[in-house]
Subunit: 200 residues, 4 copies
């Protein structure tokens, strides 16, 4: 089986997801700058969700770059990841007008945590069809950043019920940490040479 | 004619379909966890439809992997399949608030059955332009799982009028059966070697 | 310049267009089959628009298959075609509840006519960068079917003001004529061999 | 890292963006041509935004055509550009019913200016990973058109508060200037020959 269509389908779903969130940025009825004020938190949360989805796209891109073969299990692990990510627009729409309410901030974190777990499962499914010394296996390694993120999300899930802004702060910090691209994989050589990865 | 753009267009339509369903997951007005309760059946039906569309994407992926040539008939058979699949969001939106009403559960089954028939027609159109001993022909074979699914859907269409939950149970069982990827095609060798299937 | 991304972008726009039309298939409030009755004309018009967009995708696919080079003019002629096609969902949404009113049926025809003219302009832009004896030039030829369609649309635009159903009948007949794929191009040999067209 | 998926993801986001704007072209309640009159300014602004997004797609296409390698910084510069472009539908929806109000016309210009700056940042990120004499570096050159556009947008931002129509006129003039494709890059030879750029 080939990885090309898996990338194409994932790109398609992520491109649609990242874009349909803007459908919730409804213009105000009035036409003065002051009328935009209620949109400011919405725009900020939209930017946060945009960054999270872009992070997943980036990491997915880096990960797939080293993939040598895929299996049925990988296809379903990937679909499972896309399912969690597809809940991002709904979680965003609920949280943006309720930034100081515990439940929406908690649910947003559940989607982030579920996506992180799904990504972890995808890496395990890929490791099952790659040799231990393969470039993919070496690049994934112990995935410290992924583990720390998951723990941070769990902490945020608890914090949301005490003070939602702490949870929001954790989400933002995790996003900032991931904005630095994954150098382990970025600097690993492409598996099949530049020409092939180019055409996939 | 080439299969590359057929895959790209199908991927695009499926990616949009699977994603716009989330537009129906409207956040509740309130901001407590209890306000989410009416969303639970919606989320469950969304997950079911997500799985069905992902199954079609997976099977389409496996099928196209072995395609050697396509024809005008194949293009239209594929468009016909996409048309049926494109009704999934509407059928999902009608069924999710009416899980115990016969008509919405019946109509959801009609879309599933129509999609299954359209997929069958696509395989026949492909067989017409492939030799009987070709990898595609051998991989499609008698397609027992496809035939059994169609019969199950027909049974569900009748059951929906007696007890909708029986029909729903059948839909879920068929989805679970298909979650196991199609080993006949998965293990068949790619038609034109790994490099080409990679770049398509 | 390469044709690959032009195809990818056009596929993306067409995939989104063909799919977002289903967002107008809103489920009824009730839950009996009778509640679906108002949706029947909507579904019929949706199917008609789906077929028109699929025809354009098919013809675009066949046309691009023979393209050897593109220019800035081709890019804009293609964007111009996509603009007209992007008006299809709005024209569909206006016509479907007003099948017997002249204006919506007329405007739907304007979008069909504008798309046909834009497609014609695209073929001219392509002919300007291809030699007269090239496979593309031979395949386009005098484009009788395209010219007849344009004349039929013009007739429908006039007929819509007398009796909208005559215009609708013309739209359906033109769609049926185009459902037969364009054999001129389908049977022409691919310009750069099967392998390259595969990877584009 | 490869540029192929970067192009595919950008194409996907741009295709969705350019298409979901039509969701705001809601059909009128009535069914006479006169009922369409309020849609005329909406359609005009939609066409303007369509042209702007098509210009970015065209320029992105020309730019990526010469890219030899990308980096993590390029990925994020590209995501940053897509973020600004993703605000276009919301800015369009606010401006189209308020063409003579300063604030919506100003905000539309902010999105145009932000996109122009993000595109500039993307070219700088690309230049950092390309040699000074590379085809990309030579093609970007001093980017007079980009600088003049940014200055024109700044002028429009000020003009919007005096007379919104002046700002609108500037937006239209800049769009017309860009409709002429970028000959510097168009005529530069492809970096890796026609075959590879074909498959990307």
């Amino acid at each position: 089986m080939s990885r090309g269509r898996l990338e194409a389908f994932s790109d398609g779903v992520l491109a649609v997801l990242i874009t349909i969130m803007v459908l919730d940025l409804r213009p105000p009825d009035g036409h003065s700058l002051a009328d935009l004020r209620p949109l400011v938190p919405k725009l900020a949360v939209y930017a946060l969700s945009f960054v999270f989805l872009a992070i997943y796209w980036n990491n997915h891109h880096h990960l797939m770059h080293l993939v040598e073969t895929i299996s049925g299990g990988v296809l379903w692990a990937n679909a499972h990841l896309l399912f969690w990510l597809s809940l991002t627009p709904a979680a965003t729409a609920w949280m943006s007008p309720h930034l100081s309410a515990p439940a929406p901030v908690f649910v947003y974190g559940v989607v982030l945590f579920g996506s992180a777990v799904a990504y972890y499962i995808l890496t395990r499914a890929l490791l099952r069809v790659h040799a231990p010394g393969s470039p993919l296996a070496r690049a994934i390694g112990s995935d410290v950043k992924g583990r720390v993120s998951a723990v941070a999300y769990l902490a945020a899930l608890a914090a949301a019920w005490i003070e939602p802004w702490i949870a929001l702060g954790i989400y933002i910090i995790v996003a900032l940490v991931w904005l630095v691209p994954d150098r382990r994989i970025e600097h690993a050589p492409a598996v099949r040479g530049e020409q092939q990865s180019e055409s996939s």
